[in-house]
């Protein structure tokens, strides 16, 4: 009793392709134009530290608004309903504000060009290299995931085969990042931000009009017996924890602290956007400016997912437990076909392709910087002139994209991409966050403690992952990655503390500007060039504003 096969292909016409083509012309044009501004490795790898805060702020959020996010979060909206907003609010906003207000003075003020280079200044070369190598590895693996997901969508929506779609997509990202470096990647991320909104806003408005507005949507969800999906708290559908109290604890501490702070504060693909800002004030405002759209975006990502679940027959069937040939991952494209007329549909397709490229370009451009500065310049081939490292940066772009085609094949061998990403995250980000926080607030922590903490944390996460996969630990993959991240954090901290006790700390004079207690209050706020004159340019006021906005949003829903 299978229902008729659901057609996943978009009903596109020539006009849609004209709109998509125009977008790609501009994307490549940005690469060509940005090339003229590249005259040094710093221009290529860090945009010459010249970008205004609104550009880096939107790029900050766009680098995170990749296709995995877009497809995954509409899928979550369809499956779990409103509790999905926790990923955006408690799971992102506090960490982004913390990054801007507390951590950015150390990152930007240290003049480090990358997260590993900051670790070298605070700890030692070994810590830098351990982190640089693991980061390079995870970047290539995650770029492969983005590429594979893009290939899947092009195959499903346009009928292109994976063998064609993956290299074509890699080539587009390669051409603009090769030409214009980080500036081209960041400028395109800002453009992508608006195009993705041009996909999401009409989809939400049109979808709501179809189901009779917000009240119509509520009535349909209640009629389907899913009222819990209309309340953000206690979020039991999302956590899978039946006890409401522990469900809230899981969201606040698991999602809101370990996972979210680990991701937002140490992930170089994100932090790099702030490091390319033109001054300390702009660098601090980067994640905070990004937090405003981050707080509002679930309204046009989660809500369409919820609409898709009541509007698209094949999804409604899947949700009611009947046999169906679609999964929640199809929610976004199914709703696009259901609601959008030709014209807007072309814009939406451009937005979807843009989202895929945003994720991969962020991976490739951050890989560039870490490989060129931390592995090649500081370690393997020091002392060459700057033109040499610029060439290395360009070469790494090409090699990174080629490797991503290879790792796309690895990603394709996993049945659930989200599980794969979560595992990678618990391996790399959670231990990094542990030693970062400890090193920031405890000046006694030693260089040796830095890298031993990193490695032991990673090993702890890998062990948990293996135990979950082999079924020794009886946990869902979602819970498994959370336990893995927590274990990595705890083991990392314990090992770092023990090792610090038996090794020699750095003298205070070498830690000025790198740890909290040895950095003056002025340096922690603005630095000499920080021009923060009004409320709109004051990071603390902006940060308070977005926290307030988030609290209001929580009260309203």
């Amino acid at each position: 009793m299978l229902v008729a096969a659901t057609d996943l292909r978009l009903n596109t016409t020539w006009i849609d392709y004209v709109l998509v083509a125009f977008y790609f012309v501009l994307v490549l044009g940005i690469g060509v134009l940005a090339r003229r501004s590249v005259s040094s490795s710093l221009d290529f790898l860090l945009s010459g530290r010249s970008l205004p805060a609104w550009v880096t702020g939107l790029a900050f959020i766009s680098a995170n608004l990749g296709a995995i996010e877009l497809i995954g979060m509409t899928a979550n909206g369809a499956q779990y309903g409103l509790p999905t907003v926790h990923y955006y609010w408690i799971g992102a906003i506090p960490a982004m504000v913390f990054l801007g207000i507390v951590m950015m003075p150390f990152y930007y003020g240290s003049k480090a060009r990358s997260v590993p280079e900051f670790l070298q200044k605070r700890f030692n070369h070994t810590t830098q290299r351990v982190n640089a190598v693991t980061f390079a590895l995870s970047s290539v693996l995650i770029a492969g995931v983005n590429l594979f997901a893009l290939g899947l969508v092009m195959e499903a929506l346009l009928g292109w085969s994976l063998a064609v779609a993956i290299p074509v997509a890699a080539l587009v990202v390669l051409s603009y990042t090769f030409l214009g470096g980080l500036s081209a990647a960041i400028y395109n991320e800002v453009l992508q931000f608006f195009v993705i909104l041009a996909l999401l806003i009409p989809l939400t408005v049109g979808g709501l009009a179809r189901v009779g507005g917000w009240t119509g949507l509520q009535e349909k969800i209640i009629a389907a017996g899913n009222e819990a999906e209309l309340h953000a708290w206690p979020g039991t559908p999302l956590t899978g924890i039946d006890n409401p109290f522990w469900s809230v604890v899981g969201i606040v501490f698991g999602l809101g602290f370990v996972l979210s702070f680990g991701y937002w504060t140490t992930n170089f693909a994100e932090v790099q956007r702030a490091l390319s800002a033109k001054d300390m004030s702009a660098a601090r405002r980067t994640p905070i400016i990004g937090a405003y759209p981050k707080a509002l975006i679930p309204l046009v990502i989660v809500v369409p997912g919820m609409i898709a679940a009541v509007l698209v027959p094949a999804l409604t069937a899947a949700k009611a437990g009947q046999p169906s040939d679609v999964t929640y991952n199809n929610a976004l494209s199914l709703l696009m076909n259901e609601v959008l007329p030709n014209g807007v549909l072309g814009v939406a397709l451009a937005g979807l392709l843009a989202a895929f490229m945003a994720g991969m370009a962020a991976n490739v451009s951050s890989l560039n910087t870490v490989f060129t500065y931390d592995i090649w310049q500081d370690w393997l081939h020091p002392g060459k002139d700057d033109r040499y490292y610029l060439q290395v940066g360009r070469a790494v772009t090409v090699i990174g994209c080629l490797l991503a085609i290879g790792t796309a094949a690895i990603a394709g061998s996993y049945s659930n991409l989200m599980d794969y990403i979560q595992s990678l995250f618990s391996f790399f980000n959670a231990p990094l966050f542990a030693i970062f926080i400890l090193g920031l607030f405890w000046k006694r922590m030693t260089g040796t403690a830095g890298w031993t903490g990193l490695i032991s944390g990673t090993i702890a996460a890998v062990i948990i992952d293996v135990l979950v996969r082999t079924g020794v630990l009886d946990l869902s993959s979602q819970a498994g990655s959370f336990v893995g991240a927590s274990a990595a954090f705890i083991v990392g901290v314990i090992v770092a503390v023990i090792v610090s006790m038996v090794t020699q700390p750095k003298p205070d004079s070498e830690l000025v500007g790198l740890t909290w207690s040895l950095t003056s209050k002025e340096d922690r706020s603005h630095g000499p060039d920080g021009a923060a004159t009004s409320v709109l340019t004051n990071p603390v006021a902006l940060g308070a504003g977005v926290i307030l906005l988030t609290i209001i949003l929580y009260i309203v829903v």
Binding site: L19, V190, F194, I201, V344
Partner: protein, 92 residues
Amino acid sequence: MSEKASSAAASLFDLRTVIAILFAFYGVVLTIMGFVTATPENTAKSGGLNLNLWTGIGMLILAAIFIVWARAKPLGADAPPPGDDDRPPTHH
């Protein structure tokens, strides 16, 4: 990483112009489609809304905002740091 090398990036073309170009083109195409293809079965998809028309108008407004912003505060006026090479913005 010499100081003078980084000055080139300060004269990067104005991104606001590119955003305006994209959405002006999209806005014109969608607005026209909104008038031409607003058949009942097309608008029924989005609950009776003429989605092309309204999206098109929204995009034209967005393009206008970016043009006004780029005109009102051109790149050069945003005070390049002292000592920096003072080339005018090179967009066309």
